[in-house]
Point group: C2
Chain length 197, copies 2
């Protein structure tokens, strides 16, 4: 039985390490690299190296940026005492895309997950405590999962008794969805948190 | 609204150009590159460049290889006068994985598709005509699509009247499938080409 040439197999293996990329997709990608012209392949390789060399984590919020501190942390138009706490640097872009949030961010770099050995010491919490001043609003925007909720509760406890407003993203029925296909937990939550018209 | 840092956006755009890679997957991949250590990113970049520089197309069969002619064309144990004609270089590996084919290959580099402007002149046909000697068997292994079938018929005509055996992959019910979910065209073909037990 014949296999791929060594250099092709190596590239396939490396593509297959990406999350969401299976063996077949990795193969198709490697073949695409082979078929592309030299310039395109060189540009892709260069982009990968560039991202590693140019992109750093903002020392204030932990977001990804080419300039430190990032342009969100240094933007005078952003409300600096409203801090949206997210799990991952990617999450910042999800909120930015809504174009409706004017505060700043704080990246935890993970969520509490005792089974995976991730305790509070592994999260970027000390810097959050430093950043949170009297009168700050902390929006807990962890994912609506068990670990996300546990992390939110933990952070809530950290600031207990202080003059700090802790809020959480609303839970309810997603816009554009159909009641019929909404899961029971979400529907129960939506009922519970019903708002007056 | 804020967007990704420039170098990240570039990498996302380049990943998104791959077939089967959507915007979201490309984003996840770019973030993965950022999170990986420098060595891993450098290795990936190197692999891409390596594939382009080391891998060539075999001058005999058109398959991909690091040594020209490829090890299949030069393998004395392979039957050199049974040529399996495939659309793409990738297809060779699909047949090799079955470990049951002992002949050689010929890559067309595409299929006839008048709507896309791909005529016989765009396919690697002249070399095939050169390779096919008296008594050769040509196995037409194009995909079971309209274009694949048209290409097979075209090649069949090329060798008409010569002492060349032209065969085609059997059509029928895939092994492990369920009759209930087999499409009508396949089932009709399977009935028509039924074999005696």
């Amino acid at each position: 039985m014949s296999s791929f040439p060594e250099s092709v197999q190596k590239l396939i293996d490396r593509f297959a390490k990406f999350p969401g990329i299976g063996k077949k997709t990795a193969q198709r990608m490697a073949f695409q690299v082979m078929k592309s012209d030299n310039l395109q392949a060189a540009e892709l390789a260069e982009s990968i190296v560039n991202v590693k060399s140019k992109v750093k984590f903002c020392t204030l919020c932990g977001g990804i940026t080419e300039i430190d501190p990032c342009h969100i942390c240094t933007d005078p138009k952003r409300i600096q005492n409203v801090i949206c706490v997210v799990e991952d640097a990617q999450d910042i872009f999800i909120f930015e895309r809504t174009a409706s949030y004017r505060g700043v961010y704080h990246v935890l770099g993970g969520i509490l997950s005792p089974l995976d050995g991730i305790g509070p010491d592994k999260l970027n919490l000390n810097k959050l405590i430093d950043r949170v001043k009297d009168g700050t609003e902390v929006i807990l925007a962890t994912n609506p999962s068990v670990e996300g909720d546990a992390t939110a509760l933990y952070i809530n406890k950290l600031f207990e008794g202080k003059n700090i407003k802790i809020t959480r993203l609303a839970r309810g029925i997603p816009i554009g969805s159909v009641l019929e296909y909404t899961d029971e937990a979400t529907l129960a939550r939506a009922l519970e948190a019903r708002t007056e018209l």
